[in-house]
């Protein structure tokens, strides 16, 4: 796992403290009950805070899984 993945994973761990670390890479709004609208806003906010990046309103609709968020972060940092 590289540094960016580590940091995204840590953001997930902070927002979903009950989620076992091994399940974080598979987390999505479909698989994780705790990922509700409040958690979603919180998650994208801590990710943007962690990396100093901004998400647009459409991102809040599109980024609904760990892989999608990780990819969005990598794209913005590229």
């Amino acid at each position: 796992m590289n540094a960016i993945e580590n940091r995204v994973t840590q953001c997930f761990a902070n927002v979903f403290p009950g989620l076992p670390p091994g399940q974080i890479p598979d987390a999505s709004t479909d698989t994780l009950e705790a990922w509700d609208s409040v958690a979603h806003i919180t998650l994208l906010t801590v990710v943007s805070e962690e990396f100093g990046i901004e998400f647009e309103p459409q991102d809040y609709v599109d980024l609904i899984s760990y892989p999608e968020i990780l990819k969005a972060v990598k794209d913005r940092l590229a």
Partner: protein, 595 residues
């Protein structure tokens, strides 16, 4: 994840950067781990009209940071209904409430999500309806404050650009709205259960996040949410105020060494470039007015110190200083003598001196004491010291007892000087004392009763501290009996100096009472007021036996000795008949106040 030094703590005195959302979540998670399996004990209701989102998270983190670790929870209400949320909070299990008001709670047209127009008709209507809307909020806050402590923060966001002026010039609409809000906050501040939070200091960063407001109904930037949470939490959960301040004289209370340059040459005046010392003197005068005990410990001849303190141009009333301990021995010994006279613990006292070696010597002898260096004639650092003193001694409400404390300590010293005779029946009768036991004031609004429970160490049944919300809940329990004791004698009034809380203990037809809390101020020792309290309690309740929820603490020796004298130390129980046998005649007149 980048490692950051944690920069956010309650009750820090220095300007701090706000916590990040990640840091807040880590704090919450740590608290969850530390308190796993325990039901939430600190329940806060966040009352706001917007989506609580990150503000709730930061407030929960503030709760998680409090010592000792305790499971915590933040309850929230419904979007767009701040008035209803005030009612929901009042009906909830919360023990404290934080109220964050924004402009669109006063009128939705002042927010970003409404479409009511910003024309002249709308503006007139906004201004006309604001007082009524604020009155509704004031009523709701008043109702809420009867059940729990409430911190209130007025609008922190900029108004929409609906004044005709440029942003650098305040507009009439803005000023009139601010005027209405100031009047509302002033009225709310008169309620002893309400603390008006200071708005966060301007950081230069934007407060409003229009994107998040439109997306999720949350109007704050993350940084501003952290700052708002800190304001509310700091107003709500205040440290126990210190009781006394011991100050050095030379190069602290004044500039110069009086023993060397003479009492006429020491100075604190602006003309002599010594105004910081004058500011410090004025601060001491202010603290004395608030009931803070002032004492002096100085390396000086006693007569020289007394003469210098008699100068009539001092900027505070030096007669409020008691005792004055001047001499050439270790300062820690003189400080110990001040503590003996005041009869309070070192952790309730602040020691101010310009000499770091003296501070270290006192600090090593009294590790719990707050030792602060007087920073010379450096105005900026003296200003910082004054702010620090405000935080150390500030309290939400001043009581009559704060005013009485100093004089009653002098009277106690006179009593102590009477030696053995001070405890004799003849001496006590000669005091012409009156004990007033008030069974009607045990309401949650009596902040003095709760203050006594949370500040008293020596005559304290078990050392248990009680939060304001829990105090309200305790008094709401059916059958709870709460009595406050006041005392006055020929030396003057002591004010309210004792509190006892009892409830019927089950299974014996009300014949047994369980005393859960009992404290008596150290200023009221040796007057047998505790005997009066028990006598009244047994007589009024008709109980045949009392069970004390006694726990031995490091500091409740006086309470232990009293229980020993009445034969309740070992069993924690006291038969009424036995008490009457050992009590003997009571020395004071007793008045009882009931509902």
């Amino acid at each position: 994840m980048a490692q950051r030094v944690r920069r956010f703590r309650l009750w820090d005195y220095e300007t701090v950067l706000p916590m990040t959302l990640n840091e807040a979540l880590v704090l919450i998670r740590t608290n969850l781990v530390q308190t796993k399996g325990i039901a939430p004990e600190r329940v806060l209701f966040l009352v706001c009209g917007f989506q609580p989102l990150h503000l709730a998270t930061f407030l929960r983190a503030c709760q998680a940071e409090r010592e000792p670790p305790s499971p915590s929870e933040v309850l929230t209400g419904l979007y767009g209904d701040i008035s209803g949320n005030l009612d929901r909070a009042a009906d909830s299990a919360a023990t404290a409430a934080a109220v964050a008001i924004e402009w669109n709670d006063i009128d939705p047209r002042l927010g970003l999500r409404a479409g009511g127009g910003w024309g002249s008709t709308a503006k007139k209507d906004i201004l006309a309806s604001a007082p009524g809307r604020l009155k509704l909020l004031a009523d709701g806050i008043g109702k809420l404050a009867k059940r729990m402590p409430v911190a209130v923060l007025g609008p922190t966001l900029p108004l929409p650009p609906i004044d005709n002026t440029v942003r650098a010039q305040a507009g009439l609409l803005q000023l009139e709205l601010q005027h209405h809000v100031a009047a509302f906050l002033l009225e709310a501040a008169g309620n002893p259960g309400v603390r008006i939070a200071q708005p966060p200091s301007a950081s230069g960063d934007p407060e409003i996040d229009p994107k998040m407001e439109l997306l999720a109904g949350f109007p704050y930037t993350v940084k501003h949410a952290a700052a708002v949470a800190q304001s509310l939490a700091s107003a709500l959960w205040q440290a126990t105020p210190r009781k006394g301040l011991i100050t050095d004289l030379d190069d602290t209370l004044w500039a110069g060494i009086v023993g060397e340059i003479g009492l006429g040459a020491v100075t604190w005046s602006h003309e002599n470039h010594a105004q910081p010392h004058g500011l410090y003197q004025q601060m001491l005068g202010h603290l004395a007015d608030c009931g803070v005990l002032l004492g002096v410990v100085s390396k000086n001849e006693q007569s020289v110190a007394q003469e210098a303190l008699a100068r009539t141009d001092l900027l505070f009333d030096a007669s409020t200083v008691f005792p004055v301990m001047a001499g050439w021995g270790a300062k820690s010994k003189a400080v110990a003598e001040v503590l003996r006279v005041w009869n309070i613990g070192a952790d309730s006292v602040v020691f101010v001196d310009d000499n770091q070696m003296e501070l270290d010597e006192v600090g090593q002898t009294f590790p719990g004491m707050t030792c602060l260096r007087y920073p010379g004639n450096d105005a900026a650092r003296v200003w910082q010291l004054l702010g620090q003193l405000r935080d150390l001694f500030g309290k939400p409400v001043l009581t009559e007892e704060d005013r009485l404390r100093r004089e009653s300590i002098r009277a106690a010293e006179v009593m102590r000087d009477s030696g053995e005779a001070a405890g004799s029946p003849e001496f006590l009768r000669g005091l012409a004392g009156t004990v007033t036991l008030d069974y009607a004031r045990g309401s949650g609004g009596d902040s003095r009763a709760l203050e006594l429970i949370n500040k008293t160490n020596q005559f304290n049944l078990n050392g248990l501290r009680v939060g304001e919300g829990d105090w309200h809940r305790l008094l709401e329990q059916p059958g709870t009996l709460a009595v406050t004791a006041s005392y006055r004698d020929k030396f003057g009034p002591l004010g309210r100096i004792g509190v006892l809380v009892a409830e019927p203990a089950g299974g014996n037809g009300g014949a047994m009472l369980r005393v859960s809390h009992w404290v008596l101020s150290c200023r009221a020792f040796s007057r047998r007021i505790e005997h009066h309290m028990l006598d009244s309690l047994l007589r009024r309740s008709g109980a045949e036996e009392i069970e004390f929820a006694f726990t031995q603490t490091e500091r409740n020796q006086p309470l232990q000795e009293f229980l020993g004298r009445i034969g309740a130390r070992e069993s924690g129980r006291l038969r009424a008949s036995h008490f009457r046998d050992v009590c003997g005649p009571l020395p004071h007149q007793m008045d009882e106040v009931t509902l």
